[in-house]
């Protein structure tokens, strides 16, 4: 794989996350009943940044947790590499809450399907909303996001890499294409 183009840089990632924070507040008429749940790995950092932005805007903390979906995958026996099971760390009750599920890239929708199963095993939220930094299309399930950083039309043989300062040293979103 080689880099085809950089679609978001540090500044545009940051602006997108500020706008998404505003949208979350607006749609829910405040943040009193909101909690954020990031999907490992990069969804967690994006959820934390949204929580920071919300705090700057509204002046109050919203709880943020971490969801590990490994045990809920429907392709455990199909994938060649072996996923490592990590902990789900959600130290608040999601029952009755408006849960904003956060991930970096929305693609087939299968990760979100697992995450919905995992969340519902933890309690009965009032609503579950979906926030993603990138929507690259090619859905295989009837799932749509509520908050999108950027829509990026892609070919199926391309991949989208979200790089974040926390894991990759800097913020950027890159489209990768197959060599030749």
């Amino acid at each position: 794989m080689k880099e085809k183009s950089i679609v978001l840089d540090q500044e545009t990632v940051s602006r997108s996350l500020v706008r998404m924070a505003h949208e979350i507040i607006e749609k829910n008429k405040g943040v009193g009943n909101i909690c954020l749940v990031g999907i490992r790995t990069r969804g967690v950092f994006i959820a934390n940044r949204l929580a920071e932005n919300i705090k700057k805007i509204e002046g109050r903390d919203v709880p943020a947790g971490t969801l590990d979906i490994t045990l809920y995958r429907d392709d455990l026996t199909l994938i060649a590499y072996q996923p490592v099971v990590h902990k789900t760390e959600i130290d608040f009750d999601i029952s009755g809450k408006d849960v904003v599920l956060v991930d970096d890239v929305l693609y087939s929708g299968r990760t979100i399907r697992c995450a919905l199963d995992a969340l519902i095993d933890l309690g009965r939220p009032n609503t579950i909303q979906l926030a993603v930094l990138i929507d690259r299309g090619h859905r295989e399930l009837p799932i749509r996001p509520d908050y999108v950083g950027k829509n990026i039309p892609t070919a199926k043989d391309e991949t989208v890499q979200v790089r974040l300062a926390e894991t990759d040293g800097k913020d950027e979103v890159v489209i990768m294409e197959k060599n030749g």
Partner: protein, 318 residues
């Protein structure tokens, strides 16, 4: 946790056959499963559609229930076979029994057997996974893993710590598995028992030997007290129960002479007043019931990992 880690073993037969990294990988995975066991809905779909067969040739309640709960919390289907009530009584060999279970398209056999090495032999003859739930005097890997998991939970880093194992070392698969696991992880192990219950040459496994319980407890961070298996004493080599308690039983008086934070472990079932006094079994330093709780998380990890085993040479998973 190191990534990408790959678990390559279809069976869990003993800690002798695992590297320190593999042991830590099971314990780290178990740590994630422990969170699942604290939820209101204690169930995840990871082994949905898989079948686990508990094949028990020796009576066992706690280990079988622990494996059964672990499998059920992973959404596997579970079948229990107790040898006394099955066709095994009609003279079927172990390998034939295993092949029949495999032909039924079950995925994992969890076996307890009174012959040392039986789990290894079964695993060699089957493509399905075999998890050893105790074979003769050989190994009981998940018991040792849950003991070490509990130690890590209480002590943090266990490298360089000291663990004393007291009791019938000679006939104990729990002792053997613990010795393999603990020494691989850099824990200093002392075994303590009457002379006739310590196998000749056990020092070769990297342990110190003591026949004096007070000395063996002096520097210990944890003591793992084994059950005296009087039912196995065919040659009359065991001391009398009262004599054993007097010389090796863990009492409050002996605890006062040890480190104040000494952790007391026991794989159960406890013979109160033989291996330890009733007060010690219930004292704040006792983590015996934590061990039981942790056993489920450790067995969930073991079942999950063997079912996910990947052949690194073969790109296609099985």
């Amino acid at each position: 946790m190191a990534e990408p880690a790959v678990w390559t073993k279809k069976d869990l037969l003993g800690l002798e056959y695992l590297s320190a990294e593999e042991i830590k990988f099971i314990l780290d995975t178990a740590d994630s499963f422990k969170e699942v066991t604290t939820r209101e809905i204690k169930k995840v779909p990871a082994l949905r559609g898989k079948t686990v067969v508990n094949l028990f040739y020796e009576p066992s309640t706690r280990t079988r229930i622990s494996f059964e709960l672990a499998a059920k919390r992973l959404s596997a289907d579970v079948i229990n076979i107790a040898a006394e009530t099955s066709s095994i009584k009609k003279g079927e060999t172990l390998i034939d029994t295993g092949r029949n279970i495999e032909a039924l398209k079950a995925d994992i056999i969890v076996m307890r057997h009174n012959y040392s090495g039986s789990a290894n032999m079964l695993a060699r003859h089957l493509n399905m996974s075999v998890v050893n739930a105790g074979d003769g005097w050989h190994e009981h890997p998940t018991q040792a893993l849950l003991d070490i998991f509990t130690l890590r939970e209480k002590l943090g880093n266990i490298e360089g710590r000291e663990v004393t194992i007291v009791g019938d070392i000679a006939h104990s698969r729990v002792a053997r598995s613990n010795i393999w696991g603990l020494t691989k992880l850099g824990v200093r192990v002392t075994v303590c028992a009457p002379k006739m219950l310590i196998p000749v040459g056990i020092e070769a496994m990297g342990v110190s030997v003591s026949n004096n319980i007070d000395e063996a407890l002096k520097d210990a961070d944890a003591v793992n007290v084994l059950r005296m298996q009087f039912e196995r004493d065919e040659q009359g080599a065991f001391p009398k129960q009262m004599e054993y308690f007097k010389k090796f039983g863990i009492t409050e008086e002996r605890l006062r002479k040890a480190k104040p934070e000494l952790i007391v472990m026991h794989p159960g079932p406890i013979n109160r007043g033989i291996e330890m006094s009733s007060e010690v079994a219930d004292c704040p330093q006792s983590v015996i019931l934590d061990q039981v709780t942790n056993g489920i998380a450790v067995r969930m990890a073991a079942l999950f990992l063997v079912s996910q085993a990947r052949d690194i040479k073969n790109e296609n998973p099985h």
